[in-house]
Subunit: 349 residues, 2 copies
């Protein structure tokens, strides 16, 4: 079981060529006579040869590895990001190694150390907090790093994020247009700048229309969030609309309202964040802010790729716009029960 797999040398011996030739056949860096190459390939296949990346990486000093660190793998948004990024990286011949910081600064620190020891060609990180981990400040000129989704503190790094204030703002504008003046904003974690921005963007829209918007912080876990929200509702009157500013808080809202048997769209309008199949798999599908995951992944990858190809220059700070997908969960305050523009989607510049 511990036996080493066949090496380039075994192939060379069995094929009666030098190891250099075998290497050239597999790396394709130097021309090899087609028949010889074919012969080598056949022999390699027979002995079960596979190139050893550890050895290649060591020799070249380069690896085609991109490491990625996300705060939580339980969050579908990050999963989508990983999936989309992996697909693009693969096309360009890179492999992605993902680590999970479990929303914990100490785990984050350890995982970064582990990821760096892969000698990755580049790194994509969604930090746990607003603060960039120190380790990354130290390696920032050893390898390209793209900070995604967050990064209030990522001065000098390439960043890709959405226009958070605007994203929640369009949701709030939609509610205001439907006549809502009393909106509850449900946030996961207010210590994160993007979340604060979303809350601010929404609140300002509501207040600009003469309404009131309160914010409640319920944490990232859907079940606990539902309980927290329930406690808030115990102490306060039901608002006419509730806005969740993350996918997980949207779930918290739905869980809580379901337990209380409220009729969504009827008793209270709901707007969620991120758009997943389960949001529309209901009698009253949920109006939601859609993050352009594809664009986000594309932007991260092209940014990283440019740096991998040696492009220097000032850090880029990409900011992407979100859409609102209007469905039946948000209705005119009149409570006529008449759904408005059920499948209309607002495309933004």
């Amino acid at each position: 079981m511990a036996k080493r797999p066949p090496s380039i040398k075994q192939v060379a011996d069995a094929a009666g060529v030098s190891i250099a030739t075998v290497s050239n056949v597999f790396s394709g860096k130097k021309a090899v006579t087609p028949e010889l190459a074919e012969h080598v390939r056949a022999v390699a296949k027979k002995v079960g040869y596979r190139v050893n990346r550890a050895a290649s990486n060591l020799r070249t000093g380069r690896s085609r590895i991109i490491t990625m660190l996300v705060p939580a793998l339980s969050d579908p948004f990050f999963i989508s990001l990983v999936t989309e990024l992996e697909r693009r990286a693969q096309v360009d011949g890179y492999d992605i190694i993902v680590a999970n910081a479990q929303d914990d600064l100490e785990v984050e620190r350890r995982r970064i150390a582990a990821l760096l020891s892969w000698q990755p060609a580049g790194m994509v990180i969604v930090p746990c907090t607003d603060k960039m981990p120190d380790q990354l400040l130290e390696v920032r000129n050893e390898l390209p790093i793209v900070v995604a989704d967050r990064g209030a503190d990522a001065e000098g790094f390439d960043t890709v994020r959405i226009d958070n204030a605007d994203a929640a703002g369009i949701a709030a504008k939609h509610l205001v247009e439907l006549g809502h003046r009393n909106v509850l904003i449900v946030a996961s974690n207010l210590s994160l700048e993007p979340i604060r921005e979303r809350c601010r963007g929404a609140r300002e829209r509501v207040e600009a229309a003469g309404g009131t918007a309160e914010t409640v912080e319920v944490g990232p876990d859907p079940q606990k969030g539902a309980e927290e929200l329930a406690r808030w509702l115990d102490r306060n009157a039901l608002p006419s609309a509730i806005l969740g500013v993350t996918d997980m808080t949207t779930l918290s809202i739905l869980t809580c309202l379901a337990e209380r048997k409220y009729e969504i769209g009827e008793d209270v309008s709901v707007v969620g964040f991120d758009d997943y199949p389960w949001m529309s798999a209901r009698r009253t599908p949920i109006t939601a802010v859609q993050q352009p995951i594809d664009e986000i992944a594309e932007s991260i990858w092209t940014t990283l790729k440019k740096r991998l190809e040696g492009e220097t220059g000032a850090p880029v700070a990409e900011v992407l716009q979100c859409d609102l997908k209007v469905r039946a969960s948000s209705r005119r305050i009149s409570k006529s029960g008449d759904p408005e523009g059920v499948t209309e989607s607002r495309r933004r510049a």
Copy 2:
């Protein structure tokens, strides 16, 4: 940017010791005087040294890498599996590299080749189809492999799966007990043996009670699945109960029923597969078969670990039992609208 990071040699020089000492400090394999070790560590930190795994792996011929291949990262079930497995592996000092076969045999083949080139210590695979990939047959005595969730063809490999016929059987039994005799079984992909087993298990239960159970195959995509199911419903009368045998088909069912404005639990009872937060975040929470993800991950990991530690012996074929989480979506056929045992959970042996 292409500069090599500091090596063990730079640390040795800067600290005035030999490279062997530096190595021993970091590997901890051989004792080093505490003060010296501390000094080396300090110097290493100052020069920004990180151990190069490529070099270690090459030298030792061992890597603490477990590679994992799943058919789709869009499926929450596999995500949960990855997450749980990663946590356990990490505790034992292993890193997990995940690849996505995108439900495509050709991609699967390529990804396996890529994964093997990491020279992993072990491998966990959920094959795309019932057939074990040839490459794995070839390397089966080079490294331990655990086949998870599927593996009808995995003769001679360690396998971990659930009792599929029973899992769907308990769901069907529950429906039968509620008086349902006309059940529609919604399957993703009948070319997979575990799915066929689930259908069989459910069908047999219904038929044993003198009922009829038809099966419809709708594919793994929730949206397309909903459309496929809609076509079936166009041609057939609404059954009294619908059973989804995967998480994705459950979503298809809910999407389709929502579009037709059916009242779940009222017009038709629904039992889903796998248990996710969105299943209970609704007015009528969904009764569902719960796969014991924790036990599955635990079983995979302990099986793999034993092999990593050199344990030989006959392949193990672990089969785990599922629970049924009864909620309001499944009701007595009388249509009294009276929910039964809303939060009762049946624990199985």
